[in-house]
């Protein structure tokens, strides 16, 4: 290798630390700068560290998690997409915990105040999150429908993906929820005081969040249909999330709608925090309850930890989206 080609080859390798979209915009000029810098200072661990950090920041920027390297509009969109994904994952893990408590309540009232408080708090937060998701989806759906009627391009595939995932999740959740004898035993369930159907649906649609994955012997005794559903349901959730995200990226939302979505995002973060507080009360003080119905296992602790991380991501995305909306308003 000649000495003249060495800086160029190293620069080429270092530029790859940055994401493709960033390279498409800055790649060539950045390569020139890097090659010149390497020729000036052949060895520099500070430069390598700086590029590693810069590459990470550029990747986080694409997900709307830091900075304002994107245009404000793209920044808000990216942040909202990340927020949507975060909320979907939060709902997955949250619903798994919540359905365990509500199904337990079908059979017996909890014997500790902590479990009662936790269930009520988590139910209120869960309900709030679902309402917020509906409120957030409404203007996006409106824009999507109006654009589809006008022959909006590149929206057919994500819409189909979203609908496919949603139908599979709904039908599968209903099928496995109805077929399971674990709900409906509570004497109040016929009055609708305990949301038996909803709990069963939540349980069935979050079957994949299970500690059984760590116990292959127990897993092997599951019916084949249930095992298939445990693998298929997360895929359908991914389809829903991916479809929704592509729709949000491609449909043109006005600044007013983006501002509205960011406001909802702030309330959603608060609802997530309330849900986690309820979950913490259950995990720390709940106890196993009668017939071990409210026992918090390792999967619940792990679920709460994941939900906590998701909340941090969602909060960060909300902050970045707020900055983007501010920049849009100033312009």
């Amino acid at each position: 290798m000649s000495t003249s080609s060495c800086p160029a080859k190293r620069a080429e390798r270092l530029v790859r630390l940055y994401p493709k979209a960033w390279r498409a915009r800055y790649g060539e000029e950045f390569f020139e700068l890097l090659a010149a810098d390497i020729a000036d200072r052949p060895r520099s661990w500070r430069r390598t560290a700086d590029l590693l950090r810069g590459g990470l920041v550029a990747r986080c920027s694409l997900f709307g998690l830091c900075g304002c390297a994107l245009s404000p509009l793209e920044q808000v969109r990216a942040s909202l997409v990340t927020l949507g994904c975060s909320t979907a994952v939060f709902l997955l893990f949250g619903a798994a915990m919540w359905s365990q408590l509500t199904i337990g309540w079908q059979w017996s009232r909890p014997d500790t105040a902590a479990t009662v408080v936790a269930t009520v708090v988590m139910s209120v937060a869960m309900f709030a999150l679902v309402i917020l998701a509906v409120l957030a989806a409404a203007p996006v759906l409106w824009s999507l429908v109006s654009r589809l009627f006008r022959g909006g391009d590149r929206l057919g595939a994500p819409t189909a993906m979203f609908l496919l995932g949603a139908v599979v999740l709904f039908v599968g959740g209903r099928h496995f929820g109805n077929g399971w004898p674990g709900t409906g035993g509570h004497p109040w369930s016929y009055r609708g005081l305990v949301p038996g159907g909803l709990a069963a649906f939540s349980w069935a649609s979050t079957l994949s969040v299970s500690s059984y994955w760590a116990h292959p012997a127990a897993l092997a005794r599951f019916p084949a249909a249930e095992l298939t559903w445990m693998a298929l349901s997360p895929l359908s959730i991914v389809c829903v999330a991916l479809g929704a995200n592509r729709i949000v990226r491609r449909v043109r939302l006005s600044t007013a709608v983006l501002r509205y979505e960011v406001r909802l995002a702030r309330v959603a973060c608060l609802a997530m925090l309330v849900f986690l507080a309820g979950a913490a009360v259950w995990l720390l003080y709940g106890g196993p309850g009668p017939r071990n119905l409210f026992h918090a296992g390792a999967i619940d602790v792990a679920g709460a930890a994941v939900a906590g991380l998701i909340l941090i991501v969602a909060e960060r995305a909300t902050q970045v989206a707020r900055r983007g909306v501010f920049a849009l308003a100033v312009r």
């Binding site: 020139e32 590029l51 810069g54 550029a58 390297a69």
Partner: protein, 118 residues
């Protein structure tokens, strides 16, 4: 700079750039002289501030400044794309430097009052 932009209202203070406020100030100050590409910016900043901006930091700051509309990229025939200050960028830099000058003047006056002139 031959093409001096008109006065415009600053978007937001550079202080909101957080850890990029320093590099952003240096870049804008360098571009106040005229359009420059990345390597020329690095060399100019090194000469007037004694700081060599690492390539990653330089481009993070450039990307943010461009996204905020404080600088703009110019067309170029070679791979090194030059950047220039926009009208908003010039106003923002002026407002930021005015604030810094007030702080520096105040600090120097207080130093002179309590510790004597240098």
């Amino acid at each position: 700079m031959s093409h001096m932009p008109k006065q415009a209202k600053p978007v937001e203070p550079l202080a909101s750039f957080g850890r990029y406020a320093g590099p952003a100030t240096l870049i804008l100050s360098s571009l106040a002289e005229g359009a420059k590409h990345g390597y020329a910016l690095t060399k100019d900043i090194e000469s007037f501030a004694g700081v060599r901006l690492a390539p990653g930091t330089l481009y993070e700051a450039l990307a943010r400044l461009e996204a905020q509309g404080l600088i703009e990229a110019l067309e170029s025939n070679d791979r090194r794309r030059p950047y220039r200050l926009t009208a908003v960028g010039a106003s923002t830099l002026r407002a930021h430097l005015d604030t810094q000058r007030r702080v520096a003047d105040l600090g120097l006056r207080r130093l002179a009052g309590n510790f004597g002139a240098a």
